[in-house]
């Protein structure tokens, strides 16, 4: 009698600790056998629930990401329209110049402006392509801080301009050419998420601003995103980083979610946290400049 009980006890402990558990042998038709049978059913149901939860989290993540891309697409459409206008004007001007026999050098300069505008459009499309792909398994590489900032501004700046949000990036005691070892797109997506959260919080306010302050403390880079909001209630702060927790309306999730963003910071041996000492609303991403080993 003790042996079957010990099997059940060990299996229960393994299940509670998240270890892999196989079906218990049902060796008798008495109560112990029934207990083993029930345990096996419970194990299967728990596995199904876990699979459902993972799928559901994946769907929410994907839905949030699509919502974020939708929002950013509006800003990017506006950003693309300006170089398109420049190309249109330049081409029309060249047509006039050709009629008036203007020197070739002037026409050459006009062509340079067309090429520059096309390159700008290409950059915008490239940013969108980068942000929309799955970068979870990217290598950790040496990344220039300014490239991360560029990823962020390409995806957010225009949207803020159109919505009268004052947006500023400040390098505080750190060079913009500082190199850090990271998965560039993952870190960029985390900061874009922080910035989008800030925007969502203040978009209906009168005086709207968002600041990104980059600094260094010891061997870590700090990227602090502060907005003009007035902080977050204590009971909400505790839940902020829970999976699938949101304070936003249905359909309004606009990014990775703080839960996944925190996972990315932990993967970089760093941290992501709310700063309660700030009078406004501030989230900080901290990551080491150098990883112990490239992954």
């Amino acid at each position: 009698m003790m042996r079957p009980l010990r099997y059940i006890l060990t299996a229960s402990e393994d299940l509670a600790m998240g270890r892999k558990v196989t079906d218990l042998p049902i060796e008798s038709k008495d109560e112990l056998g029934e207990l083993a049978c029930s345990f096996n059913k419970m194990r299967l149901q728990l596995e199904d629930k876990e699979r459902e939860l993972i799928l559901s989290q994946g769907r929410v993540h994907h839905s949030n990401k699509m919502a974020a891309l939708g929002e950013m697409a509006a800003g990017m459409a506006h950003e693309i329209n300006s170089p398109v206008q420049a190309i249109s004007l330049v081409a029309q001007r060249v047509q006039r110049q050709l009629i008036k026999n203007i020197p070739a050098e002037d026409i050459h300069n006009s062509m340079d402006k067309i090429i520059s505008s096309i390159n700008k459009i290409s950059e915008i499309i490239d940013s969108l392509r980068k942000v929309s792909r799955n970068s979870t398994d990217d290598n950790f590489v040496d990344t220039n801080l300014i490239d991360i900032v560029s990823d962020i501004t390409n995806m957010t700046e225009e949207r803020f301009k159109v919505n009268n949000v004052h947006f500023e990036i400040i390098y505080h005691g750190i060079s913009q050419n500082t190199i850090i070892q990271c998965q560039r797109l993952q870190i960029s997506q985390v900061v874009i998420n922080m910035v989008n959260n800030a925007y969502d919080a203040i978009q209906y306010d009168n005086d709207k601003w968002i600041k990104i302050i980059l600094s260094q403390t010891g061997d870590k880079i700090l990227i602090a995103v502060t907005d003009s909001g007035k902080g977050i209630e204590d009971d909400i702060v505790e839940k902020l980083f829970e999976p699938m927790f949101t304070t936003k309306d249905v359909g309004k999730g606009t990014g990775l979610g703080l839960s996944i963003s925190r996972e990315i910071s932990l993967k970089h041996k760093g941290s992501l946290y709310f700063d309660p000492a700030c009078d406004n609303t501030r989230f900080v991403l901290e990551i080491p400049i150098i990883q112990n080993e490239k992954q």
Binding site: L89, R93, K120
Partner: protein
């Protein structure tokens, strides 16, 4: 029309577009000053006389609607053209004078949607300045 006497102020934050508009209007003989945001444009309007203001809508510091509204209040004889690529907060029709922006109805001299035709832009400026 003697365009050398006509002074034009541009407010456009996209550098390439600004450069092109300067070239285009100087080709036609206008005296052109260019600024890259609404605040800078407003400061320039208060230091020098201009005949016409051509402003983009979405700019840092002060948008084109606010700039034109201030301009109309203080310089009622100055002509104004608003250029805009669109955007969900703007309700306006190309080539018209009524713009609705964030529930506010604004009257300007002309609204042109980007990308606009160069001939149309130049003829609009000429028409406004000859009225």
């Amino acid at each position: 029309m003697d365009t050398l006497q006509k002074k034009l102020l541009l407010a456009e934050d996209e550098e390439i577009l600004n450069e092109m508009l300067i070239d285009v209007f100087e080709d036609e003989g206008y005296a052109v000053d260019a600024t890259s945001n609404g605040v800078e444009a407003w400061e320039r309007l208060n230091t020098k006389d201009y005949d016409i203001l051509i402003s983009d809508l979405f700019m840092p510091e002060m948008n084109g609607i606010d700039l034109i509204t201030k301009c109309q209040a203080v310089f009622p004889s100055m002509k104004t053209i608003l250029l805009c690529g669109g955007g969900k907060d703007v309700i306006a029709t190309h080539g018209k004078q009524e713009v609705k922006y964030l529930e506010q109805e604004i009257r300007i001299d002309m609204f042109l949607k980007k990308p606009c035709d160069l001939d149309e832009l130049l003829s609009t400026v000429e028409t406004l300045l000859s009225n």
